[in-house]
């Protein structure tokens, strides 16, 4: 997560854990996660900004000197239209990867909030663990770090303007990526 050089009026300590702003953002993240876990994708997509960029880079194992291994090629590289298409597809009843649907839990921890470059934007990072099971299958798990840019549109109301999903696995040990993060 990049530091925010232009705090634009929101001092760093106003974003710290325990502040009202931090609590408001945490509440938004939890509500959003509940929508995903409850298969309420129609309501979830309303939380995405029109200019959203939703991306999950492919990760490779690299020697230490070459950095964390996030590549230019991605598992997801989405805009609002492609996300809406994904949601509409899930609602057709013939998207077999999610019909019957997966059962997921989105766990979010280690939430850090920083002021963004605009006074209404916040860079929000969190660790995630997403568990998924379908039919009688064993749990499939995804862990990583999510880097969001959240835009405040009303008190306690935010839109997701950017989401970068930094998954820990280089080989996704899952049937597919038919769930959202």
């Amino acid at each position: 997560m990049s530091a925010a050089p232009h705090s634009a009026g929101v001092p760093a300590d106003a974003c710290a854990a325990g502040t009202p702003l931090y609590g408001e953002i945490l509440g938004f993240l939890y509500r959003e996660a509940a929508l995903l876990d409850n298969n309420e994708y129609g309501a979830w997509i309303e939380l995405c900004a029109e200019d959203i960029h939703y991306v999950m880079p492919v990760r490779t194992t690299q020697v230490r000197a070459r950095g964390p291994g996030f590549e230019q090629v991605s598992f997801f590289d989405e805009n609002i239209h492609s996300l809406r298409t994904r949601v509409a597809r899930l609602e057709t009843g013939s998207a077999w990867a999610e019909t019957p649907p997966s059962r997921t839990r989105h766990f979010l921890t280690n939430v850090l909030v920083q002021a963004g470059e605009r006074p209404d934007e916040f860079a929000v990072a969190a660790n995630f663990l997403v568990t998924r099971t379908r039919a009688e299958q064993a749990y499939q798990m995804f862990a990583g770090r999510r880097e969001d840019l959240l835009r405040r549109v009303a008190p306690s109301e935010y839109r997701i303007a950017r989401r970068r999903i930094l998954v820990d696995q280089t080989v996704i040990t899952s049937t597919n990526l038919s769930v959202l993060f």
Binding site: M56, V58, T60, T61, Q62, V63, R66, G69, E71, Q72, V73, S74, F75, F76, D77, E78, N79, H81, S82, R84, T85, R86, A88, R89, T92, G93, S94, A95, W96, A97, E98, T170, V171, I172, T173, S174, T175, N176, L177, S178
Partner: protein
Amino acid sequence: MANERISGKASQPGMRLASGEDLEQIVRPAEGLISRRIFADPEVYERELEQIFGRAWFFIGHESEIPERGDIVARQCGVDPVILVRDQAGVVRAFLNSCRHRGMRLCRADRDHATALRCPYHGWTYSTSGELLAASSEHHYGPGELDKAQLGLIPVARLGSYRGLVFGSWDPAAPSLEEWLGDMRWYLDIIFGRTGEIEFVGVPQIWDVECSWKFATDNFTDNFHVYWTHQSLVELGMLPSDPDFASHGHMVTLDNGHILHFVQGPPMEAFQGLGLPKSLWPRFAEHLSPAQARIAQAHGYSAGTMWPNFHWLQLVTAGDTKSEPVGILNLRLEVPLSPTRTRMYSWFAIDKAAPAGYRKTSYETYVRCFGPSGIFDQDDMENWEECTAAARGPAAKRYALHHKMGLARPTDATWAGPGIAYADSYGEMTQRAWYAEWLRRMRQPAHAPTAVQRPRVTAAS
């Protein structure tokens, strides 16, 4: 006949399975009967490892993935881990990714750049062309105990490259790459040479699926699943609502099990010329023969399998309901991890001559439609897993799958390319040809390949 039960007594001792069945009796490609046993059976899998993965030719990587001297990617040849490297002289080489001393994995990154490879265990160090440069504590070896000239990295027994695609085989007696590809080269020219050169973009997406590798290979030459498996996209208007929409084309079977399709898309400009931008169409005539250029111009979709497990998918689709269709070139490889678990590789590739805007749109559309998150692929993996899960039990294994579509269909002599061609690309001729090669390989007498040989390397471009 959907539940046709097949069984047969062993006729050759070597072909008899523990179940008492004879492989030749339960896999009858000419009749379209393929036993479910071969998809989840450890005994069959063990035989596949030796007979197929230890002996056939396998895709390792594309030369554009290692453009500079010292570039390395860690891959596999068959199921064995290999280092694919461009050495200091610019020659592309492939070695077992394992030190000659204690067998430690040498290259432990997915990609790297190095002038030499040093084993972390005892420090044995190799050049990028495989020579052992230094062992550990050399002065503690007595005379004749350390013959460094004989301790180079274990090369892939046969290595070759065609149109930048690097293939290897662990069988020193394998036919040459050119011989093995045979007439497939004519079609590879269309897919990989239509506008000049193709480049692979970045790294592959990799993911593990709980399925038999053969359900994936079967699927990549199956056109008539598209309307049904991808029904959600039909409902969204992203695929035509005519169940026959992907049938307007040809299927071709070639020697050595190679198979392919060329299919016309809807009568729209976006589906001409393999979905490439119109500005690139004049290049077909420059880079292809007239017959090849006509095929490239007239078709939108193509899928081909270089037997057994490497595929191209040349497709035209939109990535969402608001966008226009665009051409995509996707390369796929399945590497079995067990009878019922398979590692999938998916690459995006593009014409080097492609304009920047098309390059971006094609890439984004690929990510949205294919690979593990793809709105097409997601549902395919579901099928492969469920087909595999249902083939595990002793009762299921007594029954055949059904591969009879087009058994009596005549060949089409008007097709301009080499091979045996059939009009109407809904059919199971290509699957039957694939399984016939599988059976031929499984029936071959086992032989012990000779030990380490120096590689017959390809000269890099």
